[in-house]
Symmetry: C2
Subunit: 610 residues, 2 copies
């Protein structure tokens, strides 16, 4: 036994029923005839049950059997195929990406139930979700003909999907990729030649076909990202009658990874026999050689960035909840504050509680950040008012790099503390912490490394709309502080920390602007990742305090005998811990930025040989 | 190919020949006829060669074959046995622990060459070193008769050794262990009954016998650690004629660990058939039931704590040097500061250089801290002057918890950054970073968890000698600052950071004293681990600056054309990075301590269910 599902749904229900403005979301035309607030508990409970009973049992097959590459074909564990089918059939998979037909779950709900499912087996999730993400791109950007050809199969999960960006010689610099597309006599159909690596679920044996969203450059198009086009490149060619035939797509191997072993990470070679065809999405490159590919791909990419943060949050939370369950049973040592009271369960030790609370507060912070974005997705997509949709899109733009990078940076340290809380058993694969540690490390790298996210934040999002959009995000925090001052009560000190952090953060922005003006652009890069972390801590401090104020009211209302008292008390304690231990890092980073240390920039690369 | 040895010896030679007072060490009677400063380069180069050519090739067998448990017996990879024998025969293994016969390497040298060997295969090292550590305890505490029986075999590495503390029901609280010892008619010989877990190299098939340093309680002795006694418990009983026979020691299994797979972590049951005997070390429990065991065991334990920090440093450094080699070859992206200059090798990117420099500076900091302690070991053991020996022992006492915990805390984050610097390949087992990450996590747990180290620091070391000893450590830093002010030149700003950190640190001590006085002992526990980190950063900041001042002089002397210029420049840049990015954490921790957040203490354990 190594994997164990230990998720608790209470915070998720709190977010949906007490924190997010779900009344607004459920009033949208798309949802109002299908869902009411009363349904939310049931949905969450159902998914919790499926996560534990259907998905979690597959996790060990991922570890023990893994995805195998045999005879040019990936074989996935049979239990993965079954769980994939089950989730698709429930309507919690690809079909939920169908924004043209009503009945799908709100993004706000979908995002949170996916966290619960991801915690049960993170390796499984892209098998389920990627087809939906491809379908969404098809819906947004392609012709009715292509929609008809692809959508039914993608949305049902009968076909799988991938996103193909990275190549052996270009990863972060996707604009340098070498895959080429050549027009054919059939309009919209191109011959493709190229090689892709690190393709998540890039091959599998449980679906009829796989649709690769494939980035390539049409011959003669402009260099760099702007010259790229996006193609629907199926593993098997789809005839007019729907028949499938070979399309010269070869899977030449999969990676041997530290974790996520059930998740095939494929190397693909396409067109080696000059016989690989694909459908162009949208228009061909214009007269200046500018393609539409990167913008189209970013639609899927942004979704994948939220998904990455969600998986990191899920794995950290499940590791933490396992650790705290272990701590109830394991008797060891005496309390520092009461050494004569005899041996106690380790969950009572101060430093063990510190490790739990660090995990609890940080995972709640990440969940809040992500959930706020799921809500923006609902508004962006379905709010009746155009201005409101734009408002939500702007906020989503600002927060997406935080959603991807902050949880995926934190999870490494969080899981380490959950592991530490087991003592020596944490290092043994019989307990789930070691597995979680091995699984989580890729998320700081893929879908744009966390440095890319940090540059996106500082280099683009700070500047978007001449800085007005990011300023609006900070103004939101300022307004919250002003409004909360009278009702903060026992959380007044914490509100003060948030205020101090906000000022310090504005100082960071001014210092970076100053460095940029004086040509010290390198300092921006040197501090970028730390500034991203500080940004997330500031924003999450605000969110956790907002939640804690709700909890404070509930506590006053319900009193200490109520069964929900402990949950609300926990929300307040999470906020106190986070504001007094994580948020102060914002002014610490401000101090570091102020120092403006240039040692990294001054270092000739030769010093690293020593 | 996953493992690759990439060690550079220059910093080690700098430490031995330019920084540590090796003239003093080599003047000690034990060493003066055997070593001169001129020999040091040769020794380091020889060991570097053996590490690469003899030890490193065994690393992959550890991963691929691993230690196996078959038929009640551990089998280690054959290449491990060969490398073990080779190192023992070179005199770089157990024999170096023989403090009674001259010719052994100085601790200062031994510690640093062990770092080089540990980097080549950390899983192998306890097979080699533990016998020596057991021998050292025998030398210090046991009768001439036992010395005669055990020492020759332990020091030659013909027999292995272990330390047996942990049991299924007691780990950190070793005083609660259940193993029992019963006197027999033979004076000094006891029958033992008990079970031990997590015994590193607790069984193996490449040595004639294994000597377990076994903690147990003589029947009727006092409860707690003070009632414990220490035994030499051999796997095979040793007859008067030296013949070996069964001693009722069973290895009932080994752990399935996240890493260090070649290193058997054994579960032992002794005396199940009432037929396990062992020799008591020193005297039996006195009339109050007080045994000598824990004090004796701590001799080995303190050595093991330095060793733990050394392995963490070694693995971090080797991962970093691999990453920077990869970065030379991998071309990807353009420089933020010069986007039009075309694609560059990734080792030129600002954030990649930041990851390297974080690793370089921090591993040099850890190495300096450890090396300072190796030097104190030499003085403590062999200085002619008793006062001087006491002086060194006191300093070693203060620094040991830092040596164990700081490198083993940092290595997790350091290896993560080395891994990140590969991009997606870092997550693949074909490159060495993933393996390093899996290996390193145990070191924050074993030999006393890092929280235990932090309590040792704050609860004991701060108070030792009524606080005079720790104050002397801080005074040393203060004196350094005063003396360096005139010669700091380009490092004046960094010296200022050290001064600021020292003041902040004294503030931390006062605040914790205040909390203790007002009965808030729990706050000490809550902040303990962060204070330990701050302590190490303060002390290492001092050491790196001391080294940088030497480097500064050399640079002035040699000029930029000299082949060693880059090394010295790197030492200065390391210090600048560390003082401006790591050391500021000291005053950050001071601020956190000042906040005095009690959320952890206020949290009822029930909140962690949510």
């Amino acid at each position: 036994m190594s994997f164990r599902y230990a998720y608790n749904t209470r915070d998720i229900k709190f977010i949906l029923k007490e924190w997010l403005p779900m009344d607004e979301v459920l009033s949208f035309e798309r949802y109002r005839d299908y869902f009411s607030k009363e349904d939310l508990d049931t949905i969450v409970d159902q998914v919790r049950k499926v996560a534990e009973e259907v998905i979690a049992p597959t996790a060990e097959d991922g570890e023990n059997i893994g995805a195998l590459w045999e005879g040019g074909q990936v074989r996935i564990p049979p239990s993965f195929a079954k769980a994939h089918r089950f989730v698709q059939d429930q309507g919690w998979g690809a079909s939920n990406f169908d924004v043209e037909n009503p009945g799908g779950l709100p993004f706000s709900v979908f995002g949170l139930i996916w966290e619960m499912m991801a915690a049960a087996n993170p390796a499984l999730m892209p098998y389920i979700g990627n087809a939906g993400a491809v379908a969404h791109v098809v819906q947004l950007f392609s012709s009715p003909e292509l929609k008809g050809r692809f959508l039914p199969h993608l949305l049902s999960g009968k076909w799988g999907g991938t996103m193909c960006l990275t190549e052996p010689t270009s990863g972060s610099d996707v604009g340098d990729l070498l895959s080429k597309a050549y027009p054919t006599d059939d309009a919209g159909i191109y011959k493709i030649k190229g090689q892709k690596i690190f393709i998540t679920v890039g091959d599998r044996d449980d679906v009829e076909n796989i649709v690769h969203l494939f980035l390539a450059r049409v011959e003669g198009a402009a260099p760099g990202t702007k010259g790229l086009s996006l193609f629907l490149l199926p593993k098997y060619w789809i005839g007019e009658d729907g028949s499938l035939s070979d399309n010269d797509v070869q899977c030449i191997g999969i990676e041997h990874k530290m974790g996520l072993k059930g998740q095939a990470t494929a190397q693909l070679v396409v067109g080696e026999n000059n016989n690989c065809r694909a459908w162009l999405i949208g228009a061909p490159p214009d007269e200046n050689g500018i393609g539409q590919g990167i913008r189209q791909m970013f639609n899927m990419m942004n979704e994948a960035r939220l998904d990455t943060g969600r998986m990191a949050t899920a794995v950290a939370a499940n590791a933490y909840w396992n650790a705290k369950d272990y701590g109830k049973e394991r008797v060891q040592g005496r309390l520092l504050s009461a050494p004569r009271s005899g041996r106690v369960a380790i969950n009572k030790h101060e430093d063990v509680k510190r490790m739990y609370l660090l995990n609890k507060a940080t995972t709640e912070a990440c969940r809040a950040l992500l959930a706020r974005c799921y809500y923006y997705e609902d508004v962006r997509e379905f709010a009746p008012d155009k201005e409101r949709r734009k408002w939500a899109q702007d906020r989503l733009d600002m927060l997406t790099p935080l959603c991807k990078a902050y949880p995926s940076d934190e999870v490494w340290g969080l899981v380490a503390e959950s592991l530490q809380a087991y003592g020596g058993y944490g290092y043994c694969e019989d307990y789930p912490a070691a597995n979680a540690a091995r699984d989580c490390k890729i998320w700081s790298i893929w879908e744009g490394t966390n440095f890319i996210q940090a540059l996106d934040l500082i280099g683009r999002k700070w500047m978007q709309g001449k800085g007005a959009l990011f300023a609006a995000t900070l103004k939101e925090i300022e307004d919250f502080i002003t409004a909360a001052k009278e009702s903060a009560a026992s959380l007044t000190g914490e509100l003060g920390q948030l205020e101090k952090a906000l000022k310090a953060y504005q100082g960071i922005q001014m210092m970076i602007a100053g460095y940029a003006r004086s040509g010290k652009l390198g300092l921006m890069a040197v501090y970028a990742r730390r500034i991203l972390t500080a940004t997330a801590q500031l924003y999450c401090g605000y969110l956790l305090l907002e939640q804690a104020l709700i909890a404070q009211k509930q506590i006053e209302l319900l009193g200490p005998e109520h069964y929900d008292y402990t949950f609300y008390l926990g929300k307040i304690i999470s906020a106190r811990y986070y504001l007094n231990n994580a948020v102060p890092n914002v002014w610490h980073v401000a101090e570091l930025v102020k120092i403006g240390d240039t040692s990294v920039l001054d270092a000739p690369v030769e010093i690293f040989d020593y």
